[in-house]
């Protein structure tokens, strides 16, 4: 774990993230541009027609919503076990981003559901467990804000984040465990046609890089704010 702690101090994080950020930002732009170009060049699907283009904004948002939650859970574990202050900052900074991607997944999913299923919403396993993810994000952020003492808030939020991890495999396997309107897994099983797979992979990579970039910017912001706060306290 020593390597992790070496890079997980705020000073090293600022240096490393400053070096990495230009590449993730440019990578985001290139992947999204290429993904959109290919995405709007695909032929209509034989069943879904042109609504197949929803795939390229819906699935990446869902994937990042879950990755962001995984990132929060890992940081929470680091925080609980090793009490690392940067882990708390990182976990907290990822939450609003994760919630935003979750909301985008739900909205784009509803807009895809209406023309394909005839309804914006149905209380089935996949949709309900994904809505639950949004509520977990909301609860996590509310808990951080509700407890004034930052150390206690961090610990309570970390425990909530780890309990909420249970929901992630439920989202993933909901389409296999229960009968649902939502279509089954098609990427790993190779069922998706390559013409749709490539723009989807590019958009997914673009979304992931975008999340990584924004997450780093947000953590950097908090570190700067804390430095400013300690300078102010020192000067007061």
């Amino acid at each position: 774990m020593n390597w992790l702690f070496r890079y997980a101090n705020p000073h090293e994080f600022m240096r490393l993230s400053g070096a990495v950020l230009p590449f993730t930002a440019i990578g985001t732009a290139l992947c999204l541009l290429a993904g959109l170009y290919l995405g709007f060049s695909v032929p209509p699907d034989y069943q879904q027609g042109s609504t197949v283009t929803m795939l390229f904004v819906h699935v990446p948002a869902d994937v990042v919503a879950e990755i962001a939650y995984g990132a929060i859970a890992v940081c929470s574990l680091l925080s609980l076990v090793w009490r690392h202050p940067l882990a708390d900052i990182a976990a907290r900074a990822a939450a609003p981003l994760g919630a935003l991607y979750t909301a985008l997944g739900l909205i784009t999913g509803a807009l895809w559901g209406k023309p394909m299923w005839g309804t914006y919403w149905v209380w089935d396993a996949r949709l309900t467990s994904f809505l639950l993810l949004l509520f977990i994000y909301a609860g996590y952020m509310a808990l951080w804000n509700a407890i004034e003492d930052e150390t206690r808030a961090a610990r309570a939020a970390a425990i909530l984040a780890l309990v909420g991890v249970v929901n992630i495999p439920i989202i993933k396997f909901s389409v296999d465990w229960w009968s649902t309107l939502h279509q089954g897994e098609s990427i790993m099983s190779g069922k998706i046609a390559p013409v749709y797979l490539w723009p989807l992979l590019l958009m997914m990579l673009g979304y992931v890089l975008m999340f990584a970039s924004l997450w780093m910017v947000r953590v950097r912001t908090v570190i700067l704010e804390r430095r400013a706060r300690s300078l102010m306290q020192a000067g007061a």
């Binding site: 042109s50 948002a61 985008l104 807009l111 209406k114 975008m210 947000r218």
Partner: protein
């Protein structure tokens, strides 16, 4: 490239529009917050 989505355009374009507005918005907002923090810190460090 093909932008003719037929009658499905009523669902597809809002999905793309909301995603674009949200993601561009959160990017601009995050950069603005970082700039604010940076300016504040450099002002304090000069003192």
């Amino acid at each position: 490239m093909n932008f003719d989505m037929g009658s499905y355009g009523a669902y597809i374009w809002p999905a793309y529009g909301i995603s674009a507005v949200a993601l561009i918005g959160v990017t601009l907002w995050s950069i603005a917050a970082w700039r604010r923090a940076k300016t504040k810190l450099s002002r304090l460090e000069k003192k």
